[in-house]
């Protein structure tokens, strides 16, 4: 072994030569092969891997769409339809990209929900969580700008409304909006810069995902019990146990994805976006894509322009400080009898906001949106801090392996023992 070379255990001579000089194979083996992973993951732990695959799908389809897309106000709409009609498999690539955005949000929302339910944001994983929130914000920005590119009515008016949010900023608001637009309305310069940024941001997301995973591999994964593994009996090597379990999840995910793409490709879209953008006529009901609806509802629930915008951004920004709002030492909601129900109510409340965001901003819809907005924030700002002090958690298991053995004893014949998780 020449000095200065990495001490590689790879046997293939070519790979070994590379690994000695740049130990990527050793690294992959360590991080994705033997990486000790809690043995009790349930299927909610698939969604991180699914999100990563979804990002790759979006980047791949996006690159090929960009080969045929024209970012110009007078050509964008037709160029998208040309992709649908004339480019070989263009309809497939475009529908995968379009519905892939929805799939991405479904997957990431479940991933975030899992983190909240099982307390994955708590120490020592605060930075891991914060990086995740950064990814979520970048995703929203990317999705918003991507939706503008086909230059339909919803593209145009969505862009107009969302960029106008910044006009709520005192003093410099209007100048910022003009800067964002590159003109005095959403127009060709806006479309061009959105295309440029829409192409760029996914790679930024990929970079933050790398940091997210790097941070994960320092602390290790949380698990449904929310207690740290106490030794090798509590963990399994990532491969093959979780590579195969993730594979099962990937297939199920692809099947849902395929149903959307092949049988209901426009179900989650809005018909108005098949009308070319018309700066002189706003559609009667303008609604954002479904994944923005909860935040849109919060925006409209607040009667003041600036406060509404602040509430909307605040509803996501509050996630950054969630690790410090919830100071209960118990991670998993399984052992938090009160917080569990309040969080499940918060989940229902999130869907109420989503529903209210799709309704016209009038009458009792406003009232419902306001109540839901109040609960959204109260959960974070009042209930969680309060519960951290007054809630009596249930007794935690001694270790991850322990519940698997409970009731059965050490004898192999104990077929009645139930694993904690369907794994």
């Amino acid at each position: 072994m020449a000095s200065g070379l990495h001490d590689s255990t790879v046997t293939n001579p070519v790979l070994r030569w590379i690994d000695q000089r740049m130990p990527v194979i050793t690294m992959m083996q360590k991080e994705y092969g033997s990486f000790p992973t809690p043995r009790n993951f349930n299927y909610f732990w698939n969604f991180g891997a699914l999100a990563m695959i979804n990002l790759l799908i979006m980047i791949a389809t996006g690159i090929f769409l960009a080969m045929n897309y024209t970012p110009h106000t007078s050509l964008a709409f037709d160029s998208v339809e040309r992709i649908m009609r004339d480019v070989n498999y263009g309809w497939l690539i475009r529908y995968v990209h379009m519905n892939g955005a929805s799939m991405f949000f479904i997957v990431v929302l479940v991933h975030v929900w899992r983190g909240m339910y099982y307390g994955s944001y708590k120490t020592p994983r605060e930075l891991l969580w914060i990086l995740g929130v950064v990814i979520f914000l970048l995703m929203m920005a990317t999705a918003f700008m991507g939706y503008v590119l086909p230059w339909g009515q919803m593209s145009f008016w969505g862009a107009t409304v969302i960029t106008n949010l910044f006009s709520a900023i005192p003093l410099v608001g209007n100048s910022i909006v003009t800067l964002l637009w590159g003109g005095f309305s959403v127009d060709n310069p806006t479309l061009n810069r959105f295309f440029s940024l829409h192409y760029l941001l996914p790679f930024v997301i990929a970079g933050v995902v790398f940091l997210h995973v790097a941070a994960l591999h320092i602390t290790g994964s949380n698990n449904p019990l929310g207690i740290e593994p106490k030794g090798p009996q509590d963990t399994l090597p990532f491969h093959p146990y979780y590579t195969i379990k993730d594979s099962v999840g990937v297939i199920v995910y692809l099947m849902v994805f395929a149903v959307l793409v092949f049988f209901m490709p426009n179900y989650l879209g809005h018909p108005d976006n098949y009308i070319p953008a018309n700066p002189l006529s706003t559609p009667a009901h303008i609604v954002p894509e479904w994944y923005f609806l909860p935040f849109y509802a919060i925006l409209r629930a607040v009667p003041d322009k600036l406060m509404g915008v602040l509430a909307m951004f605040g509803s996501i920004a509050i996630l950054f400080v969630l690790p410090w709002l919830d100071s209960s030492p118990v991670r998993s909601m399984r052992f938090r009898p009160i917080a569990k129900w309040l969080f499940l109510l918060w989940t229902v409340n999130f869907f109420v906001l989503m529903w209210a965001g799709g309704k016209p901003a009038e009458g009792h819809y406003i009232l419902i949106a306001r109540l839901a907005t109040a609960y959204y924030f109260a959960y974070f700002l009042v209930l969680l801090p309060l519960l951290s002090k007054i809630e009596r958690p249930l007794p935690l298991p001694e270790s991850i392996a322990r519940p698997v053995l409970r009731g059965g004893g050490p004898l192999p014949g104990a077929a009645t023992a139930q694993p904690m998780e369907k794994a």
Partner: protein, 191 residues
């Protein structure tokens, strides 16, 4: 999955460390599942590659009509067809004679003049040098036409004769003859 784990057994580190009978069955399953997955990945790659081939509207590109009325003897016009220049040359009797007189044994890419022309005196060739795709000179009367009176490619010095055949230089083939038809004495449709 109802089996319980004996407390003493630590989790296996490698996938292969199991009872052999079980292992064989698993390996076969793995092989089948792996092959299926590989087929799937292969099938996913294809649409992406195919999307880079010419789209349907590109393949359906219109043919180009050329009006020959105003092309005098000795003159040439260049028209655009499928994004490429097409040379239409009204050859003089001398040029035709020269082209026909060349013995095939002198040619790198042997083709008779007659086989390259539908109707005299019109020579119609794609104006793209068969070496590396430059557009040869020789359409304008002021252009250099090379040592054989046809076209001369300035990029790497290929000389073409009055039938558009390669005579000297690096190009391997004669200038290509596109598909075309005479719709009347003065109307040609290329493509």
């Amino acid at each position: 999955m109802a089996d319980t784990l004996a407390p003493s057994s630590s989790p296996p580190v490698e996938g292969g460390a199991h009872a052999p009978a079980d292992g064989t069955k698993r390996d076969f399953l793995k092989l089948v599942a792996g092959s299926f997955a590989a087929v799937g990945v292969g099938a996913i790659v294809w649409p992406f590659i195919a999307s880079m081939n010419p789209a349907k509207d590109v393949l359906a590109l219109a043919s180009t009509d050329v009006d020959l009325t105003h092309v005098a003897e000795g003159q040439a016009v260049t028209v655009m067809w499928r994004g490429k220049p097409v040379f239409v040359r009204h050859r003089t009797a001398k040029e035709i004679e020269e082209a026909q007189a060349v013995p095939l044994s002198d040619l790198r890419d042997p083709q008779t003049d007659q086989s390259r022309v539908l109707r005299e005196p019109w020579l119609i060739v794609v104006g793209v040098c068969t070496h590396l795709g430059c557009v040869p000179l020789g359409q304008k009367s002021t252009d250099p036409r090379g040592d054989y009176g046809g076209w001369f490619c300035p990029c790497h010095g290929s000389h073409y004769d009055t039938a558009g055949r390669i005579r000297r230089g690096p190009a391997p083939l004669n200038l290509a003859v596109p598909e075309y038809e005479f719709r009347s004495d003065t109307q040609v449709r290329i493509g």
